[in-house]
C-alpha cells in the first residue's frame, strides 16, 4: 500500500489511493507549514467513535428483523407471541434472516456513497474525507427493511451529491446527508417508505395473498385510532416493528451515553430535544384531559398517547442521539444548542400528531432545524455582543495612571 501510494503521488488518481492508505494506516506525512494542532480526536477518530456507538444498534437490528418477521407470521396464524430474550429472540434463525436482509443495505450504502466521494475527490483534486463513514452506516438503519437496493443507491447518489458535494463536501453541508437521503426516498417512493406494510420483511409481497402478514408500527396504529399490543418494555428494548435500526431505545440510550462521555456528541442538544418532545407531548395530553377533543377525532389516538412514550417509539430517540447532534449541521453555540434541540423534539411530536400522512416527523423536524441552525447561532452571538456592549457602558474605566493597566483590567472584569 505504501508503495502504490508513492507511485501514484501527484497523479490524477492519487486521492483515491491516499484515502485507502489513510483508512488502513497512520499517514506517513507531516504538515510542513501553517499552525499545527496536535490532538487525538481528528475526523477519523470522531467518525469511528460514532460507528462504535452504532454497532450494537446494527447487531440488534439483525435479530429484530428476523424476530418481527417470524412473529408476524405467527400472529397471522393466530399464535400470539411474547418476547423471550433467549428463547425466541436471540436465535440463529432470526440473526441469519436479519443479516441477509440488512447487510445488503449496508453494503450498497457504503459502496455507492464511497464511489461518489472518490469520484468527487478525483475531479476536485482533494483528499477523500471521512464524512461518509457515519452517513453510510446511518442510512441503512433509518430505512424500512425491504427498501429495494437500487432505490437506496439512487437516493445515496442524490443525497451525497445534492446534499453535500455541491456545498463543498464534508463540513460544508447545510443539511444532514443521511436525512437528505431519507427525505428523498420518502418523497420519491412513498409507497415503499410509509404505510402499514413496509416495516416487516416480506409484508408487501405477501399482501393480498392467504399468507398476508401485518407490518404496522405503533405510531401507524395510533394514527388510525387503532389499538396496539406491545408492552412498555417491548417499546423500550425495541421488540417492535419499525425502520431497521430505530426500534431499541435502550441501545440508543447506551450509544448516546457513550457519545456523551467520549465528548463526541452534545448532551445539550440531546437533553433539550427530549425536553422539547416531552413538553409537546404534555400539551397534547392536556388537550385530551381537558376534553377539548373527542374520541372520534382523527388525532385522538396520537394525542392521548402518554407523553413519555413518544420517546421510546418510532425514530425519535435515534434521531435525537445520532442525527440531531451532527456537529456540522447543528447549532454551534451552547445557548443555540438548547434552542435547536428543544425545537427538534417539539416539532417532531407535533408533526407526528397533526399529520397522519407523516407518522414519522423526526427527519423533517431535524432537517427544518438544520436550516435554522445558522440563524439561531447568529442571534445568540448578536445577543452576546449586545450584552457585552452594555456591560462596557456601565463599567467605570479608570484613567491611565502609572499602574493604569492593572486598574483597567479590574474595571473590565468587575
Amino acid at each position: 500500500m505504501h508503495i502504490i501510494k508513492h507511485r501514484f503521488r501527484g497523479k490524477k488518481m492519487a486521492p483515491a489511493f491516499n484515502a485507502f492508505h489513510t483508512f488502513l494506516f497512520t499517514p506517513d506525512e507531516t504538515t510542513h507549514s501553517g499552525g499545527h494542532v496536535r490532538a487525538v480526536d481528528d475526523l477519523k477518530r470522531t467518525m469511528n467513535t460514532v460507528i462504535m456507538a452504532l454497532i450494537p444498534v446494527l447487531i440488534f437490528s439483525f435479530f429484530n428483523t428476523g424476530y418481527q418477521y417470524y412473529a408476524a407470521i405467527d400472529a397471522a396464524n393466530g399464535v400470539p407471541r411474547t418476547v423471550d430474550l433467549f428463547g425466541n429472540f436471540l436465535t440463529w434463525e432470526n440473526f441469519w434472516l436479519g443479516f441477509t436482509q440488512v447487510m445488503p443495505l449496508v453494503v450498497v450504502s457504503y459502496a455507492v456513497g464511497l464511489i461518489v466521494e472518490f469520484i468527487f475527490a478525483v475531479i476536485k483534486g482533494h483528499e477523500v474525507e471521512e464524512g461518509y463513514l457515519v452517513t453510510g452506516m446511518l442510512v441503512p438503519l433509518i430505512v424500512p427493511v425491504d427498501t429495494p437496493l437500487w432505490m437506496l443507491a439512487v437516493a445515496v447518489v442524490f443525497g451525497v451529491v445534492i446534499g453535500k458535494e455541491v456545498f463543498g463536501g464534508t463540513g460544508m453541508n447545510i443539511l444532514n446527508p443521511a436525512l437528505t437521503i431519507r427525505a428523498f426516498l420518502f418523497f420519491a417512493y412513498p409507497t415503499w417508505m410509509s404505510g402499514d406494510k413496509v416495516w416487516v420483511h416480506q409484508a408487501v409481497d405477501r399482501a393480498g395473498t392467504p399468507d398476508a402478514i401485518s407490518g404496522e408500527t405503533i405510531l401507524g396504529s395510533l394514527a388510525q385510532n387503532a389499538s396496539y399490543d406491545y408492552s412498555v418494555s417491548d417499546m423500550f428494548f425495541g421488540f417492535i416493528p419499525g425502520s431497521v435500526g430505530e426500534t431499541s431505545a435502550f441501545l440508543i440510550l447506551i450509544g448516546g451515553l457513550f457519545l456523551i462521555f467520549s465528548k463526541i456528541a452534545s448532551w445539550r442538544i440531546m437533553l433539550s430535544a427530549v425536553i422539547g418532545a416531552l413538553v409537546m407531548g404534555l400539551i397534547f395530553n392536556g388537550v385530551v384531559a381537558q376534553g377539548w377533543i373527542g374520541e372520534t377525532s382523527s388525532f385522538y389516538g396520537l394525542m392521548s398517547f402518554e407523553f413519555w412514550k413518544h420517546l421510546i417509539v418510532g425514530g425519535l430517540a435515534f434521531g435525537i442521539v445520532y442525527m440531531a447532534t451532527d456537529p456540522v449541521t447543528g447549532s454551534q453555540t451552547n445557548r443555540g444548542k438548547w434552542i435547536y434541540g428543544f425545537f427538534i423534539g417539539f416539532i417532531s411530536v407535533m408533526i407526528r400528531v397533526f399529520n397522519p400522512a407523516y407518522p414519522e416527523g423526526v427527519f423533517l423536524a431535524i432537517l427544518l432545524m438544520n436550516v435554522f441552525a445558522p440563524t439561531i447561532d447568529h442571534y445568540v452571538i448578536q445577543g452576546n455582543v449586545k450584552r457585552r456592549l452594555k456591560r462596557l457602558k456601565t463599567a467605570t474605566i479608570l484613567p491611565k495612571t502609572t499602574d493604569g493597566i492593572a486598574q483597567e483590567l479590574q474595571a473590565e472584569t468587575a
Binding site: P148, W150, M151, V154, I162, V166, F187, A188, Y189
Partner: protein, 215 residues
C-alpha cells in the same frame, strides 16, 4: 447565414447558452418550477412565451419614440396583457384540456420578469428587426430550459413523454417496470424542478468557467 448578419445572429444565439435568461440571469424561475412536470405543458408554455415576446418586442420597439417615459411601464403592461389574453383565448378555443393544466400560469406570463426585462433593456432602445430577434432569442433560451426540465421531470416522474408511456406500464409491470423500477414521485413536485435547474446551471458553468461569478 446570409439572412442574418453576425451581430444579429448573436441576438438569437446568445440567450440560448451564455446569456440564458433562466440559468444565467435567473429570471422567470417561478413558471419554470410550476408547469414543467409535463413536457407538453412546457412546450406550449415555451411557444406562448415566444409569441408574446416576439410580438411584444416589435410593438414596443415601434412605439418607443412616442411613449412618454413616465408611463412606459403601464404601456408595456398593456401590450403584454393584450398578447397574453390572445394566447389564453386561443388555448381555450383549441386546446381546452391543456389550458386547464396551465391554468393561471398563462395569465402569469404577464409577470414573467424576462418579458418586462427585455422590453425595458432592449426594445425601448433598438429598431424593429433587432428587437424582434432579441425577443425570439430570449424566449427560445427560456423555452429550451423549460423543455429540458420538462423532459427529465416527465420521464423520471411519470415514465411518459408527451403523455405517451415510454418506459412501459407501471401497473401491468411491463417494460422497464418488470425489473422493479418505479416512478420517482419526487420529480412530480415543484422542488424537483429547482434541483433540475440547479443541475443544469452546474453543468453549464463547469463547461464554461467564464460564467462563474467571483465571490
Amino acid at each position: 447565414m446570409a439572412l442574418l448578419s453576425k451581430k444579429d445572429a448573436n441576438l438569437i444565439l446568445d440567450p440560448l447558452a451564455d446569456n440564458n435568461p433562466i440559468t444565467i440571469q435567473v429570471l422567470g424561475i417561478c413558471s419554470a418550477l410550476a408547469i414543467t412536470a409535463e413536457l407538453k405543458a412546457s412546450l406550449v408554455m415555451a411557444i406562448s412565451v415566444i409569441f408574446v415576446m416576439g410580438v411584444g418586442n416589435v410593438v414596443i420597439s415601434l412605439l418607443r419614440n412616442i411613449i412618454p417615459s413616465k408611463i412606459r411601464i403601464i404601456v408595456q403592461l398593456i401590450v403584454v396583457a393584450t398578447l397574453v389574453i390572445i394566447v389564453d383565448q386561443v388555448l381555450k378555443a383549441f386546446a381546452y384540456e391543456l389550458s386547464k393544466t396551465l391554468a393561471v400560469f398563462v395569465g402569469l406570463i404577464i409577470t414573467n420578469c424576462i418579458i418586462m426585462g427585455r422590453f425595458e433593456a432592449f426594445a425601448l432602445g433598438n429598431g424593429l428587426w433587432r428587437s424582434f430577434l432579441d425577443g425570439i432569442g430570449n424566449a427560445l433560451g427560456y423555452g429550451v430550459i423549460l423543455i429540458i426540465v420538462g423532459f427529465f421531470r416527465e420521464l423520471l416522474g411519470s415514465g411518459t413523454l408527451f403523455g405517451i408511456p415510454v418506459l412501459g406500464d407501471p401497473i401491468a409491470k411491463t417494460g422497464l417496470y418488470s425489473t422493479g423500477y418505479e416512478n420517482n414521485g419526487f420529480m412530480i413536485i415543484p422542488p424537483a424542478a429547482l434541483i433540475v435547474v440547479g443541475v443544469i446551471i452546474w453543468v453549464q458553468r463547469s463547461r464554461n468557467r467564464a460564467l462563474i461569478e467571483e465571490n
